[in-house]
């Protein structure tokens, strides 16, 4: 087995979304099968990981051209992205870390992957969890887009979390399809501990039906489309609460929309939740809707299934390529989404068949298999 240098950007609990979670599990399972060193851009108090973890050196060495780029990219993290490669190289040399393949996740770590490839002459795999095209609804920040394009073209092999994203990489970044391998994410199937939120528990006891959204409140995740179903659903289920678990730039817009349509009684915004609190929401809800305009994968769908929650997902979600036992709709098809929500609330057999069959399907997403597939992909290089 080849030794792997895996370049990541974040790990739980210091993660903003699915990328950190996926990296954590890939690294954990992979380290059982091969020598793996996982890298993060800065030192964080992460304990309880069962793989070798290194942090890039602290001192910052500015790349050539950085000051020019800075004008166009108002991202504070940009400095960290650009300096990640040199800082990591310094660390690798200092600690004399050995590896044969570089495996970097998304553009945030991808740029340093390219830097290491060029300096150490090792093959590079770029693992794409989402592209700028997808994150912005094809209205990309051109600097980020060009960085992505460059790292994808310089990579020896590309891994994509779904065929949906593979097609984007092919079409918008001009990467030949035979260089891209799809590797679906997995889910941790071990039981998880819940910490019930008293208010939600109270709603449940008062026989409210709970419709759940989990994800960042951004355009890409489509929370506004779900909000639009409320006025139809309440005609059938007046005792209903839509819970939006997540934070993001659309929060204000969503609150305003609910206010103007006189729907504030039906919505709850919890802010970003994680672990025990999030699990408890899954366990108390009646249906999860993932109305993403574009979701390269969509881990929350699998999390909901794990808690035996029936799910409705948009057709533009990568997870749907490998998960069959769910209801699928176009994100913009409000009436269909409402029809499905009411159907699930109304017809018990629909709910039961959906949840049981989807739950049985989760075995397709166990991390052990996912990582075995990854090892096969490593062989292609």
């Amino acid at each position: 087995m080849k030794k792997i240098l895996m370049i990541g950007w974040e790990l739980p609990p210091f993660n903003s979304g699915g990328l950190g979670v996926a990296c954590y599990y890939i690294a954990s399972y992979l380290s059982k099968k091969t020598k793996l060193t996982f890298c993060l851009p800065k030192k964080l108090p992460i304990n309880k990981v069962y793989f070798d973890l290194i942090f890039a050196e602290e001192e910052i060495k500015i790349l050539k051209g950085y000051n020019d780029l800075k004008k166009y990219v108002p991202l504070e993290m940009f400095e960290e992205v650009l300096s990640y490669g040199p800082r990591l190289l310094a660390k690798i040399k200092k600690e004399n870390i050995e590896f044969e393949i570089i495996h970097a996740h998304d553009w945030l770590s991808g740029l340093s992957g390219v830097y290491l490839k060029e300096n150490l002459n090792k093959p590079l795999i770029i693992h794409i969890h989402s592209t700028e095209i997808e994150r912005t609804g094809n209205n990309p920040n051109m600097v980020i887009y060009h960085i992505e394009k460059e790292i994808l073209q310089k990579a020896d092999l590309v891994i994509s979390v779904s065929n949906l994203t593979k097609n984007i990489i092919n079409k918008y970044y001009e990467i030949p399809n035979d260089k891209i391998y799809t590797l679906y994410n997995g889910i941790d199937l071990n039981p998880t501990e819940c910490e019930l939120i008293p208010y939600i528990l109270k709603l449940k006891k008062e026989k409210y039906k709970i419709i759940l959204f989990v994800g960042r409140l951004v355009l890409q995740k489509g929370p506004d489309y779900l909000l639009s179903t409320i006025k139809y659903v309440i005609n059938y289920y007046p005792r209903v609460k839509y819970i939006f678990a997540g934070s993001g730039e659309m929060l204000e817009e969503l609150i305003k929309k609910a206010y103007y349509e006189n729907l504030l009684d039906y919505v709850i915004f919890t802010g970003f939740l994680r672990d025990k609190n999030l699990w408890s929401l899954y366990s108390l809800s009646d249906v999860l809707v993932m109305p993403s305009v574009f979701d390269p994968f969509g881990l929350v769908a699998l999390e909901a299934v794990k808690f035996k929650l029936p799910i409705i997902i948009s057709k533009t979600s990568g997870v749907g390529e490998n998960l069959n036992n769910c209801l699928k709709t176009d994100y913009w098809d409000i009436m269909k989404m409402a029809n499905y929500i009411i159907g699930i609330l109304k017809y018990e057999p629909l709910k039961n068949e959906l949840t049981n069959n989807a739950f049985n399907e989760l075995s397709k997403f166990n991390w052990e298999d996912r990582v075995n597939r990854l090892l096969e992909i490593y062989q292609k290089i």
């Binding site: 139809y232 699928k328 029809n339 159907g343 109304k346 018990e348 057999p349 068949e353």
Partner: protein, 393 residues
């Protein structure tokens, strides 16, 4: 002298409109005539017309030695009358040769034999009348929906004047015995013809399957296999969906040439001939008893009803439907009764089947739904509408 019995099931359902919860109680029609016409146009062009023409020619060119049996459902005949009367004319023409036997069916291709004996009888009678009126034949052999058979049927069918029934040659019942003989039901009221599933599936499923070690299947090879039964079999029953020809197996696979050639090849074999189903049960003696207290079918590997009533959604939908029987009949409104019966067509429940769905292997043939859940939701919404209709009556 072994005989070959071809039987083709010819059926199309009345598919439902996309019917959401928002359509409930708005007095909207349930059936999607546009969609039904679309599917019918296609199947008529790809299968019915070419295959019926071939059968017509085969009868003449073999000097009336080629024979076959057809089971045509009432729901299909209604659709043909609406949109493709030329197919009915074609059917009349081949039936008039005397070489085509029409079997008894449930008019609506329903599972009424399982859920309502009263309804079952009524649908058989309705079908019998239709076949008699259109084709001047009085069906003597019964072919249930999906070839369902269980012992209880023999009393009912005997009373309805049937002499025989066809069903699946299920291994677990036959055990060491061969499907290639005539059997009788336990009380001896019916003769039973059993499908030789290996040979039937060689044509209907495996014909174009390139990984099959017998591919390509030629007429010579197939008739050679049949010849091996000379001396140890009397009836070789090849029962399949009519859509095998031109639809399940596309014309490019060579299925039409195969059908033509295999008939001539079989007639070349010494002592072989073709018989219709009722001729077969008249010609050969009963060689044993075939009994199943539980319903068997020709479906899947389980040969049971799980593709129709295997999951909670299917059971809920069908049980709710049949529980309306007395109420609906008491209203005395023919229109509602007719709708209720069209909803009994087995296809509606087949669309809700979740077996193998996790592997992406859907029962998707002519399936208007993207998945079994949507099929149930749609059907269930229609039922909800019917509840309200009845209440307001």
């Amino acid at each position: 002298m072994p005989s070959v019995c071809f039987y083709f099931k010819v059926h199309q359902p009345f598919r439902l409109k996309n019917f959401t919860v928002f359509d409930i109680n708005k007095n909207i029609d349930y059936f999607d005539q546009e969609k039904n016409k679309f599917y019918l146009d296609r199947i008529v062009k790809k299968c019915y017309i070419p295959t019926l023409s071939i059968i017509d020619e085969l009868i003449k060119e073999t000097n009336y030695r080629f024979k076959a049996s057809l089971g045509i459902t009432g729901t299909l005949i209604e659709q043909l009358s609406l949109w493709h009367p030329e197919v009915i004319e074609k059917l009349k023409k081949i039936v008039s040769t005397g070489n085509i036997e029409l079997t008894g069916e449930t008019y609506y291709h329903s599972l009424s034999s399982i859920y309502s004996k009263k309804e079952f009888e009524l649908q058989i009678k309705k079908h019998k009348k239709l076949i008699n009126d259109l084709f001047g034949q009085n069906p003597k052999v019964f072919s249930n929906t999906e070839l369902i058979y269980f012992d209880e049927l023999e009393d009912i069918l005997k009373e309805l004047d049937f002499q025989g029934i066809i069903t699946e040659g299920v291994d677990r019942i036959l055990d060491w015995r061969s499907p290639n003989f005539i059997y009788s039901s336990p009380q001896g009221k019916l003769k039973i013809l059993l499908r030789n599933y290996r040979l039937s599936d060689d044509i209907s499923f495996r014909f174009s399957f390139k990984e099959w070690n017998e591919w390509p299947l030629t007429a010579e090879k197939f008739s050679y296999w049949l010849e091996q039964f000379n001396g140890n079999g009397e009836v070789i029953n090849l029962f399949m969906d009519f859509e095998t020809f031109g639809e399940h197996q596309w014309p490019e696979t060579g299925i039409f040439d195969f059908l033509i050639n295999v008939v001539f090849e079989i007639l070349k074999i010494k002592d072989f001939n073709f018989l219709t189903l009722s001729e077969a049960i008249k010609t050969y003696p009963i060689r044993g008893q075939f009994s199943s207290p539980y319903p068997i079918t020709w479906a899947d590997t389980e040969r049971d009803l799980t593709a129709w009533i295997g999951n909670e959604m299917q059971k809920d939908a069908i049980e709710r439907l049949y529980s309306l029987e007395n109420k609906i009949k008491s209203l005395g409104n023919d229109n509602i009764i007719e709708i209720w019966r069209k909803l009994q067509t087995a296809d509606h429940f087949y669309y809700m089947c979740t077996k193998w769905f996790s592997d992406g292997d859907v029962h998707k043939y002519f399936n208007p739904y993207e998945n079994p859940y949507v099929a149930y939701l749609n059907f269930r919404n229609v039922l909800e509408d019917i509840y309200l209709k009845i209440k307001n009556f």
